[in-house]
């Protein structure tokens, strides 16, 4: 066990001086390619990884504990800090879980649903661009990083126009959305979509698809076969990259995905390159979804929050004109809503994979237990099987290709 009274490097079950040819190296937690605070303890035979042991917890903030001490609405901004690359998808996952718990998911107004779906898809684009940028940077393609970050920044500008924040959006509330889209936003969105579509084809894919270095570093690297994918319960693109046709937006649709026309790309190559192609195709599909959503937005009624006075605060207009609405709002803000006794597990397809919220409610304004099923948590776990047998140089590209975000892994 560790000496308790001095900061000293601590390696459990590890001996660095060994008689065989194996070498143990420590990767991270401060490593530019670790995509956050990942520490890997690698046992090497020459340059081949024999054993990999991911060590996480450097960003642990105890969100599940915090949730038990917060009313439901209070917790929503905390979910921003999980997958901070695409925070609206966390907000949405939590909001939908609480709505399912309350049984009000059908009462969310149409316009709120359109705006939510728009935000989700915009977040997906931004997240995939961020993934591409950092992954390409890990492999050594600096220019892709610059292009992808440029377009990502335009996407963040759109979100900033909507909710005022670039990264921690909190733009989705339990029961709807707080704000309507600003004037001219959909026009800007349409322009942005054209730019993204062009950039995917003429920048990212033109630079990378046939790039010799890119292909050599990605093809047949990080192969997740079907059994490994199943066993580790991987989700999202990692799962579709292994040949499973499974996307929660199609298979267990939520929000407006049932009405929308889009395809789920799958790849049976099972390697990093196949997953890269899926990311590019998913951006295209998100663009396609967003284009369909723009007319849907203009056809919808202006109501934004569900009208469920027991759980959701009344509109500002009602609060300011009707005494009883103001009282209801006061009680909901100070005491919080009291959902019925029961439990739900609600999963949504976040850009990283299946983001699930398990909520156990005992009828109190505070959740009795909230468990966040973060896709990246299991995508980090799979590294102990995935890295074995690959070269040390590939470790970085494999970590990049799993698209893990440590806010989500450690929560």
């Amino acid at each position: 066990m560790q000496q308790t009274n001095r900061l000293r490097p601590f390696f459990e079950n590890l001996t660095f001086d060994r008689d065989d040819n194996h070498m143990v190296i420590n990767f991270g937690p401060q490593h530019p390619s670790a995509h956050g605070q990942l520490r890997l303890i690698l046992e090497l035979d020459g340059e081949e990884v024999v054993k990999a042991n991911p060590d996480i917890g450097y960003l642990h903030r105890g969100m599940e504990k915090m949730a038990e001490n917060m009313i439901y609405n209070e917790f929503l901004p905390t979910t921003d800090r999980m997958d901070y690359i695409a925070s609206s998808s966390n907000n949405y996952g939590f909001a939908l879980a609480v709505e399912k718990l309350l049984g009000i998911e059908d009462k969310v107004p149409r316009r709120a649903k359109v705006i939510r779906t728009m935000l989700l898809e915009l977040n997906r684009i931004i997240s995939h661009q961020f993934w591409l940028a950092t992954h390409a940077l890990d492999v050594g393609a600096m220019s892709v990083f610059l292009y992808a970050f440029r377009e990502r920044e335009w996407g963040l500008d759109l979100i900033e126009d909507y909710c005022g924040a670039r990264l921690t959006h909190s733009a989705i509330r339990i029961g709807g959305v707080p704000l309507d889209l600003p004037e001219g936003w959909t026009d800007n969105l349409a322009k942005y979509l054209d730019k993204v579509e062009r950039a995917v084809k003429e920048d990212y894919e033109a630079l990378l698809d046939e790039n010799r270095i890119w292909k050599m570093r990605l093809e047949n690297v990080g192969i997740i076969d079907k059994e490994m994918a199943r066993s580790w319960a991987v989700s999202g693109i990692m799962l579709r990259g292994s040949g499973f046709e499974w996307d929660l937006r199609k298979e267990m649709p939520y929000e407006l995905y049932e009405e929308l026309d889009f395809d789920i790309p799958i790849s049976d190559k099972m390697d990093s390159y196949g997953r890269y192609k899926l990311y590019m195709e998913e951006i295209r599909q998100s663009v396609r979804i967003l284009r369909q959503l723009i007319p849907m937005y203009h056809e919808s009624e202006p109501q934004l929050m569900a009208n469920v006075p027991q759980y959701i605060s009344p509109t500002k207009e009602e609060q300011m004109t009707q005494n009883y609405s103001l009282m209801q709002h006061f009680v909901l803000v100070t005491q919080g809503m009291r959902p019925p006794v029961g439990e739900v597990y609600v999963a949504t397809e976040s850009p990283k994979g299946e983001l699930g919220f398990y909520i156990n409610s005992q009828g109190e304004p505070y959740p009795y237990r909230l468990k966040i099923r973060a896709p990246s948590f299991f995508h980090t776990g799979i590294l102990q099987d995935l890295l074995v047998g690959c070269q040390l140089a590939d470790v970085v590209t494999i970590i990049g290709s799993t698209n893990i975000v440590f806010g989500e892994v450690d929560r």
Binding site: M1, N5, Q335, V344, Y358, D410
Partner: protein, 271 residues
């Protein structure tokens, strides 16, 4: 008299409860009402003892015996095609029932259905690991052990995953306070400065909303500013209120605190 606070659950409580409020329950449907679930539950019931089963919000929930968790999950995986273990963890019911409720969240791609397998264990009872069926349980069981202190038998590497290895206490238990216990407040102090420096450094303040009105290093004292680092623990200097307006006053605004000029008899006559 000090108000009584229960020690078995130190999480935040609602400050007001209506005496006449009846908490509603989420309805529990009969598993026979769903055609996929009804077949599954029939097969399960023929092989294992299932104490309770119902559908809640569209998802089948079954309660099994803690000793049979591996067999039930193996059956679900191989025979009923619930082949993904998406999540597993525990819920602390130590105060109410002296134990933990463990849930396994399984997914079937072919049926497009989820099933929640639940079991109840006593406080010091161990559960058998399912990581040979689902590797995802490897990490999830470690997290459960880390957060609740539930022992998992036959786990290849059961050690803390999110908290430091030498941490004491189990953070997600209801008896564990949000800001951490006494061990937590000395942990980093001991690590960085050593145990002998405890008297000099003092315990770590883990309450993020903490305000120390005598600390002039880190807290501003609006309206009562003193130079940074001044020791004001003995007597607080009563500083003058600062004048924030311009010396000559602001255009069109009359400063009522300013002593007004008293006009002499001659000046008044001249007006």
């Amino acid at each position: 008299m000090r108000p009584y606070r229960p020690k078995d659950n130190v999480q935040k409580k609602a400050y007001y409860n209506d005496r006449f409020y009846v908490t509603p329950q989420i309805p529990k449907d009969d598993p026979a009402s769903d055609e996929v679930y009804s077949k599954d539950i029939e097969k399960l019931q023929s092989k294992f003892s299932i104490s309770e089963s119902y559908i809640q919000r569209g998802e089948l929930v079954i309660y099994i015996d803690p000793d049979s968790n591996v067999e039930v999950l193996e059956f679900l995986k191989d025979e009923l095609d619930y082949s993904f273990l998406m999540e597993m963890s525990a819920v602390d019911f130590l105060a109410q029932r002296e134990g933990f409720e463990i849930f396994y969240e399984l997914l079937s791609l072919s049926k497009r259905k989820r099933i929640r397998v639940k079991t109840f264990i006593k406080e010091n009872q161990a559960i058998e690991s399912v990581q040979h069926l689902f590797r995802s349980a490897n990490f999830a069981e470690r997290e459960m052990f880390d957060m609740f202190g539930i022992q998992v038998n036959n786990h290849p590497y059961l050690k803390r995953i999110l908290m430091p290895d030498d941490w004491e206490g189990y953070p997600l238990r209801k008896t564990y306070p949000l800001q951490g216990d006494e061990f937590a407040q000395w942990y980093e102090v001991d690590k960085i400065f050593g145990k002998e420096a405890r008297d000099i450094v003092g315990p770590e303040i883990r309450d993020s909303a903490h305000i120390d009105r005598y600390d002039t290093e880190r807290f501003a004292r609006l309206g009562h500013e003193v130079p940074r680092g001044t020791d004001i623990s003995k007597d607080e200097p009563d500083t003058d209120n600062h004048e924030f307006q311009e010396e000559g006053g602001v255009f069109l605004i009359k400063d009522l605190n300013k002593p007004q000029k008293v006009l002499s008899e001659k000046e008044r006559r001249e007006r």
